[in-house]
Symmetry: C2
Subunit: 446 residues, 2 copies
């Protein structure tokens, strides 16, 4: 029987980072990753949408296996099918048995499939992380003109924008009154929707898919309103569910979000089995209640906690803040922490503060875009709870500035004197620098 010190099931972002972190902190340990994806076929998860209008092929969106081999991490291409917790072994599809000291579940999630009629027709696609599948989608796109995207969240928007880059007619079908409504306040949803419409993307909100119509192939999408969209491809991007089968079969405790329960050190109900990323339950940084946020960056943060904690507890998970951004055309929108809506729903008494300014200075610098920012502060503690941003390509790091302020539980007064730097091409002017300016303005309401 093969034996390893650290066995990681799953070779996507979280699995890789868990391996690298284990290697760093336990340099003599034998570290092994087992995954289904063949050598050279592990896709960059966040890059999936960008295959279709930007990079052009799944093969250009691959995580190099050198991330493993270069860190002296063994790779087994196989499928883990069961865990024997007492014997501390994992059995694989090819009937191999692998012994472990510490086991890490990084099995990720799978796209949710809405069980509507026609879901199995040809030309219905999902965000499935598989090179052959995505090449199939890529080839299909060459023969279609009209596409419906079910789901106006991040993944739906990103596929919509990329399909648009190919010249397709794209319609987003969103159940809620706004796209992105689960992650932004209405004002920022509206900003994002305006950008989508400027790009020529149709948006149908308050709209529910009833059936995919067609004989063999997709011919349309019928909504519950009775309206039928004439489309020849349907993409479902309505979220993901944690891959927990292995954990469930091994009787590991499940959490309230149907992900694998873990403690603040990343340990499951079995002290020798850790879980992280999309398959593991998260708790909110703010309320400590279960959170359904699933992001590659969160998986990597959890992997850095788990990788360091395997044989000795070194890092605690303080709960998920959430920091993310996306692009629409050449505009960016993003957020960190809680929105106004989420903060109120969680029971916080809050004030908000909004500012707008060009994202370069003077505004005559070519390419300057409007930078809009909304901050949320808790009244009781005056601490920053969240921020939403709209602008250009710098919003990705701008939300990380916010994440750093939030993580350190800075008060509005501290944020107002936060020592930022500025440059004409890179940031708004130092005078109305949005984060500090909004914080200073918020103080008057606190």
């Amino acid at each position: 029987m093969e034996k390893t010190d650290v066995l990681i099931i799953g070779g996507s972002a979280g699995g890789i980072v868990a391996g690298i972190t284990a290697r760093r902190h336990y340099k003599d340990a034998k570290v092994t990753v087992i995954r289904k994806e063949k050598e050279g076929q592990e896709l960059v998860p966040c890059g999936l949408p960008y295959i279709f209008g930007t990079v052009g092929a799944p093969e250009k969106n691959i995580m190099p296996d050198a991330l493993l081999s270069g860190n002296n991490i063994d790779l087994i291409v196989d499928e883990a099918t069961s865990i024997d917790r007492e014997a501390k072994t994992v059995t694989t599809a090819s009937a191999k048995s692998i012994g472990y000291e510490k086991l890490v579940l990084a099995t990720g999630s799978a796209p949710i499939i809405i069980p509507i009629p026609g879901k199995d027709l040809e030309n219905v696609f999902y965000a499935i992380k598989d090179v052959d599948y995505l090449n199939g989608l890529l080839k299909t796109l060459d023969g279609v003109k009209d596409v419906a995207i079910i789901g106006g969240g991040f993944i739906g928007l990103e596929f919509a924008d990329e399909f648009k880059k190919r010249g397709l007619n794209v319609t987003i079908v969103e159940l809620l009154p706004h796209c992105l409504q689960l992650v932004f306040d209405e004002d920022f949803c509206a900003l994002a929707e305006n950008k989508l419409r400027e790009r020529g993307i149709d948006i149908k909100t308050n709209a529910q898919a009833a059936a995919v119509v067609g004989d063999k192939k997709v011919e349309g999408l019928r909504l519950t309103s009775g309206e039928e969209l004439k489309v020849d491809l349907v993409f479902m991007g309505v979220g993901a569910r944690p891959n927990t089968e292995l954990g469930q079969k091994a009787d590991l405790q499940m959490g309230e979000t149907r992900a694998i329960w873990v403690d603040e050190y990343g340990r499951t109900s079995d002290k020798d089995i850790f879980a992280l990323g999309d398959c593991a339950e998260k708790r909110s940084f703010f309320t400590k209640k279960p959170s359904a946020l699933r992001l590659a960056s969160i998986a990597c943060t959890e992997a850095r906690i788990v990788g360091a904690n395997l044989f000795k507890l070194r890092r605690r998970n303080e709960g998920v803040i959430g920091s993310f951004a996306t692009i629409i055309g050449d505009s960016g929108v993003g957020m960190a922490g809680l929105t106004e809506t989420a903060a109120k729903a969680a029971g916080f008494d809050i004030v908000t503060s909004e500012v707008k300014t060009p994202d370069k200075h003077p505004g005559s610098i070519p390419g300057a875009k409007e930078f809009a920012l909304k901050l949320v502060f808790e009244k009781a503690t005056q601490q920053i709870l969240g921020g939403q941003v709209s602008g250009g390509v710098t919003v990705g790091e701008a939300v990380n500035v916010l994440a750093a302020l939030i993580q350190n539980r800075m008060t509005a007064n501290q944020v107002a004197t936060f020592q930022y730097g500025t440059h004409p091409f890179f940031t708004p002017s130092p005078i109305p620098y949005p984060i500090v300016n909004a914080a200073d303005a918020a103080l008057l309401k606190l």
Copy 2:
């Protein structure tokens, strides 16, 4: 006699923000700014270099006076010539006398003029914040081909790069072994120098200007080595000295850096007179020793402290961290906090950690550049002291992420689990996200 509650001398970034902050925190106070620059002629300080190759005219680089009028701040265009501390009045060049309750000195700095022969010849220029002067430079540039820039710091590099955009032949003359050597470690100086050379800019380091050569106009620049550069314009960008004449005449205490001494609340030796920005002495966040860092962003931070403290102490200046970035072509370099060199010189026992990764992910996303990062941690406390960055346009906010981590005195272990977000177009991959990856690697040496 005119009378105001808050009189601010100087209408650049610091003066404006002091006014806006005073207005916010003391809503009934009469706030007045007195400045020399006529209506509509206050230039954006950081935008100065970008007039020449990017925005095209000083008139496109103006701070709107609506920043004052829109905040109910009075503007007096005049020159303050003396302060009577006992009578609490300021006298102006037009013999006006203005009474104040609280006085704020935001008089800025002026370019240092190296006293070499030929410094007064036609076609020797400086970074002088004056519309007519800059229009004179702009006009002159149309008639020249070869330019020497004395000084390889930020301002010299920025003018060099903009002059290059006009198609001029540009040579930088730097006294030290490297450009930017006062703000970066050698490895990052070299990165910046390579980018300058790729842009076709000549660099002469270890080179000292001896004399500007010419009859009436510039014909060359002679170095102390004897070498003579044939140029028809010389730009001196060797730093700035604080404008302290008013303060000195009023017998305010001066600091070790020849700027006006202030306490941690921004008060000068006269409790009713505050000073901020380039004219005020700064102390290091790390050592509390005097610092010669002068940036518009620092002036604005100090202005937010002073503006809030005028009638009641509310905010303390914890000392200057320093966070800044610049552009060379379409590449960015920046830093926050202490370099390895500066940390060692200050007596810290430190470790450094360097990483490199594409600034987008996968690296096949168009426009991806190498993102290089170097972090400095103190051994005794494991706290982050500084970071240097090279990449694209996102470095401006990336140094602000660093500034936030530094300001919160986060340890390497905390930085390693900092909750960042990522996006293919905006940031490096979540797997090697540089800040956390470098921190995790640094832990092995701490």
